[in-house]
Symmetry: C2
């Protein structure tokens, strides 16, 4: 199957495979098996073999997967064999934490600008970043051709900011606001809401 046709549900698992494989690579491990990988990440070995076979033949029965080769292929498929510039909108506690998070850059992303609409915050520093006004956001994002935004605004202003991000040419939004946002089909949104994750677990308690 062509890499362009990989089902979305499989695409969702590839970053998890990549993270586990990179962790093994960091330890100097050169080969792994679907069994070992499955135990690391809690996905069945059969599922992993099926997912990985979607984009070519890797490894042989009994010899396992070459980690450097599989890492390279996954980074290529997910397009994180490059560094993507990203911006953060909303410099509350969560925005601050993300602006200072050092786990982006070795996995394909670099925060390049941060924004807020609070006059008291604009011009202040967060780590290496000066907080810019959302009033100049569209202009700055267009200038630098930014495609990725992390949205940590409150629920009350999330949709309005999302509309501006779309106008600015943003194509992927990681939304921390506890609200679903409406964007055109060509703009991708992923949600991070700790409460939905917690509620998903309490069902089983």
């Amino acid at each position: 199957m062509n890499a362009d046709k990989i089902p979305d549900i499989i695409i969702g698992r590839l970053p998890v495979y990549l993270r586990a494989l990179q962790r093994l690579a960091d330890k100097g491990v050169l080969t792994t098996s679907s069994q070992e990988l499955g135990e690391m990440i809690g996905i069945s070995a059969a599922q992993i073999r099926k997912d990985i076979s979607q984009f070519g033949e890797f490894g042989k029965q009994g010899t396992g997967y070459s980690i450097p080769f599989l890492v390279e292929r996954l980074r290529d498929i997910l397009k994180v064999d490059r560094i993507w510039d990203a911006v953060i909108i909303g410099m509350g506690d969560m925005g601050h934490a993300l602006a200072r998070y050092n786990g982006f850059v070795n996995r394909g992303f670099r925060v390049v600008m941060v924004f807020d609409n609070d006059p008291n915050k604009i011009g202040q520093k967060v780590g290496e970043f000066e907080i810019f006004s959302t009033a100049v956001m569209i202009e700055k994002l267009k200038q630098q051709k930014i495609k990725i935004a992390v949205l940590t605004a409150p629920a009350s202003s999330a949709q309005e900011i999302a509309d501006q991000l779309v106008k600015a040419g943003i194509k992927a939004i990681l939304n921390y606001a506890p609200i679903s946002i409406n964007v055109p089909d060509e703009v991708h949104v992923q949600y991070i809401d700790p409460v939905t994750h917690l509620q998903r677990m309490t069902y089983y308690l």
Copy 2:
């Protein structure tokens, strides 16, 4: 179908439905349709109808769903018709942001204690919380019969802390560490890793 047998993939969508319905309820809206809900959250009306029909008959063709009734039923199914005590382990930037997050309590959760293993942080205040040492974590969690932990430790210590949480009787872990953790089957884990979400979107860019 009995609520105990709802497939996990549906359970994963219920908190999203609940969030959207509570948002409508907050605006004073009393009824909604699968179409309206679908437009809010980007899930097809047919899927929503099918999911909701898993746990009983709600609404009628043409009249829509009663929001207060559906909210009550979802809160009951997800067991967030009560307040769950939760703890946070790891008082870095992310732990701080979560300790001060005010979006937990009206959705079923209350942070009651926070922990870190850094001697320089222990005893300091984060909002209303004093940071406790992880050395007393097992004892305190057992004493207060805590079942839910939010883990924001670095990848290097996440598994070790997860092992301690399991010993302490924790049954649900929301893991912000960028690593898969191994726990017994009866312990539930959900992952929040912004990079896996970002990588899932770059595939499409």
